[in-house]
C-alpha cells in the first residue's frame, strides 16, 4: 500500500514538499487535459521526467500490477460544480516487460480527473485548492 496526500496549487502544481513520498513521486496536473503522472521509486531524487535510462532503471520500483486506486478529495467546505471530482487511470505501466527489461520509461500511472457533473476534464486551475488523499494498492507478485 502506497499513500500520498497533497493540495493542488495554482495551475495544478504540487508543492515540492508533497512530491516525494515513500515509494512515490507525484507530477503536477498538466494543462487542460486533467492528467497527472504518478511515478514509482524509493529514492527521493527519483526523476519524474526520466532523462537517462540507467538512472531511472536503478531507482524505479516495478510491480506486477495495481489492485486499486482510491482518492478522497477534500474541498473547502462549500463544494461547487468544479469540485466534484471523479477519476480513472489512463496510462498504467508498472510491470517491467520481461522481454525488454531496459525499457526507456519509468514505471508510471497517469490519473485522468473529470467532473462528476458532466464528465468534462478538469483543468489545472479547476483543481486549485483541492486536497487529495490517495491510497494505491500494489500487487508485488505474479502468483
Amino acid at each position: 500500500m502506497l499513500c500520498a496526500q497533497w493540495t493542488f496549487g495554482t495551475d495544478g502544481a504540487v508543492a515540492a514538499s508533497d512530491m516525494d513520498k515513500e515509494g512515490l513521486k507525484l507530477g503536477p496536473l498538466y494543462g487542460t487535459d486533467g492528467n497527472q503522472g504518478v511515478y514509482f521509486g524509493r529514492h527521493k531524487n527519483f526523476p519524474y521526467i526520466p532523462s537517462e535510462i540507467v538512472s531511472h532503471y536503478d531507482r524505479s520500483d516495478w510491480y506486477n500490477d495495481i489492485l486499486g486506486l482510491e482518492i478522497t478529495f477534500k474541498s473547502d467546505g462549500s463544494p461547487s460544480s468544479t469540485e466534484r471530482v471523479g477519476f480513472e487511470t489512463n496510462i498504467l505501466a508498472v510491470d517491467r516487460p520481461i522481454a525488454t527489461p531496459f525499457v526507456s520509461y519509468a514505471p508510471v500511472l497517469s490519473i485522468q480527473y473529470f467532473s462528476l457533473d458532466d464528465g468534462a476534464t478538469f483543468t489545472n486551475s479547476d483543481m486549485t485548492g483541492i486536497t487529495a488523499h490517495m491510497v494505491l494498492w500494489m500487487k508485488n507478485s505474479s502468483v
Binding site: G86, E88, N90, L92, L116, T121, W137
Partner: protein
C-alpha cells in the same frame, strides 16, 4: 472454497476482514468480458443496464465495501466517464453482489458500447466473522 487461502489482514480493528481482488476487461460492445485474474469470485458480462453480477465462492457475514478503479487507455471521452454503485448484495446468503456502471455525463446506466475496452480493477472488502 477459497477460505483455505485466507490470510489475516493486519491493521484492521474489525475482526476477520477479507479482501478479494481482481480485474477484467470489456472486450466488445456487448458487455462481454475476458476472464482475467481474480480469486474467490467470478463475474458475469454487463447487461444493457450496465449491471454486472459478482458471485463469491463463499458466503460472508457482511459486505464492508466495494472499490472499483476504471482504466481507460482511449482518448478521453466524457461520455465514457464511468462511476460505480452497488445495486444489491446477498453475500451472507446467495453470495452475490450486483454492481451498476453509471455514466457520469449521461446520468444513467453506462452503455455496453461505452464500456468497451475499459479495464476494471475491483477490491471487495468482506467481514468473515459474526463478532
Amino acid at each position: 472454497m477459497a477460505n483455505r487461502m485466507f490470510k489475516p489482514l493486519g491493521g484492521s480493528l474489525t475482526q476477520d476482514v477479507v479482501l478479494l481482488t481482481g480485474k477484467w476487461a470489456f472486450i466488445d460492445d456487448g458487455g462481454a468480458i475476458d476472464t482475467t485474474k481474480h480469486a474467490g469470485f467470478s463475474v458475469a458480462a454487463a447487461d444493457g443496464n450496465g449491471k454486472q453480477v459478482i458471485t463469491l465462492e463463499d458466503t460472508y457475514n457482511s459486505l464492508v465495501g466495494v472499490s472499483l478503479t476504471y482504466h481507460d487507455g482511449s482518448v478521453y471521452d466524457a461520455e465514457r466517464a464511468t462511476v460505480c454503485e452497488v445495486e444489491s448484495e446477498t453475500v451472507a446468503s446467495t453470495k452475490e453482489i450486483t454492481i451498476q456502471h453509471v455514466a457520469v455525463k449521461l446520468a444513467g446506466p453506462q452503455t455496453q458500447g461505452r464500456l468497451e475496452n475499459k479495464v476494471v480493477r475491483v477490491m471487495i472488502w468482506l467481514k468473515n466473522s459474526g463478532v
